[in-house]
Symmetry: C2
Subunit: 275 residues, 2 copies
């Protein structure tokens, strides 16, 4: 029997939605209450695969999740982009005028800031998971509190949607990665994207030199992020994502980077979900 896929949040959460799209609608999930919990599930072997948000349009990279993958030497084996639509929902029969508090995940509250600004009588309360609030409202029959969550959560917990797509940015994509303990069986031909990490000295032109190599090897950069290394002044870690047409080009770049950069590390090689 296959093991469940560990996610942060419960059924009806956006992580659950990604599992349904990437695997299939009936894929079993293990509901964890934190990203640390998700990683623990993978390390202890109660799951063999996890789904984790890694960047979104408002907050950028979720650096703590990068750190979890990096520090535990895990492997990114796939990615998925979900267009996140937030809906305001409450018990059937409640209207917006009845609502005095909205509970949701801090990121959801942030993404719906403009909508909520127009409702100053509503108090905002941070919660661990978008879907969990919806579930609580339904199970405990809670009036006057609304959730911000997905349409799936509204369906699953039988809440009525008071306002649709209330997020400020209408096309609101979050990138999720699928992570395993080990690399997948290496079918290089289907891979056209990689997540890399390397360290450089704070020396003029050091990053430009590396990027020239990537460009010479026909690699495209889809993401770059520098992070100062704690307790090591003037050293920076870089997280980059590259796409490529031919694995051989990428392979050549990899050999060069191993020589040119310190602590060069492949966080994952996988299929680009953006094609």
């Amino acid at each position: 029997m296959t093991k469940p896929i560990a996610i942060q949040g419960i059924k009806g959460s956006f992580h659950h939605e990604v599992v349904q799209h990437y695997f299939n609608d009936s894929a079993a999930v293990e509901e964890c209450m934190s990203f640390d919990g998700v990683i623990e599930s993978l390390l202890e072997g109660s799951s063999d695969e996890i789904v984790m948000a890694i960047e979104n349009s408002i907050a950028g990279s979720i650096i703590p999740n990068y750190a979890l993958i990096d520090n535990n030497n895990l492997n990114i084996v796939g990615e998925y982009y979900l267009d996140i639509q937030h809906h305001l929902m409450a018990l059937p029969g409640q209207s917006i005028a009845d609502i005095s508090e909205v509970h949701s995940h801090p990121m959801a509250l942030l993404q719906c800031k403009m909508f909520l600004k127009d409702l100053p009588h509503i108090k905002l309360v941070e919660a661990r998971d978008t879907a969990e609030v919806a579930k609580q409202i339904a199970e405990k029959n809670v009036k006057h509190i609304a959730a911000i969550a997905s349409k799936k959560a509204a369906e699953l917990y039988k809440l009525s949607v008071l306002a649709e797509s209330i997020q400020t940015i209408k096309h609101n994509e979050t990138r999720f990665v699928i992570v395993k303990r080990e690399t997948e069986n290496n079918d290089f031909t289907r891979m056209d994207k990689a997540s890399l990490k390397f360290v450089l000295d704070h020396k003029r032109g050091s990053l430009a030199t590396i990027l020239n190599v990537l460009s010479d090897c026909k690699l495209n950069l889809t993401k770059i992020q520098s992070l100062p290394i704690m307790d090591t002044p003037w050293k920076y870690a870089f997280f980059v994502d590259v796409t490529f047409k031919d694995y051989k080009d990428y392979s050549k770049a990899k050999s060069l980077m191993e020589i040119m950069a310190e602590n060069f590390k492949v966080l994952g090689e996988y299929k680009n979900a953006r094609l």
Copy 2:
């Protein structure tokens, strides 16, 4: 009379500490309960200057704060690095065994994750501001709840420190920026750092070309961050910080980048606080 400096949080918060270091110990502050509130204070003119956290060692860049500066066309006029030490504090007479809940800002809770993991009987509750929790505990004489906040907060609100420097990374720096509506009087000679934003096509080598220009003009890169542009596939915005010895070199790079990149924008020119 000079106007107060707007900060997120209250007296005793880390933002307040930065104001005391950057300006002086007795500089008046306007206590705001959100970064949006801080920006509003500046835009409405109740303050002429604000202090805002912009990146830290765990979460990386605080992209929403970058967006606030960028979207409101504000100017970074200075920076300050604060080594953030978190302390666990409660009413005098309380010991760790008496504590059942710790309330603090989500970032503080995240930064003290390892310490808190060893105290599984303590429930973690997210709050808006580190110092505000300390103040509430003191004013309302709240037992069994501890705050995670600065030494200043413990002194100010007369709490006892139960555990010192409980953050996971011992040298835990956060970078703050000082922001105004307009640029400062332009004393170019004292400026040696700039924060820039530009847009590039997702074309092989486009970023390498720009970084080559920066390097040729003797500019050092201290930070780089890409962000996909919403609703414009294959275009990326880049936020970079550069340092330089001679303003003329920087000025030349600026002229070149205006030609080579789209939407080139200077978010601020100021004195590097890291020298």
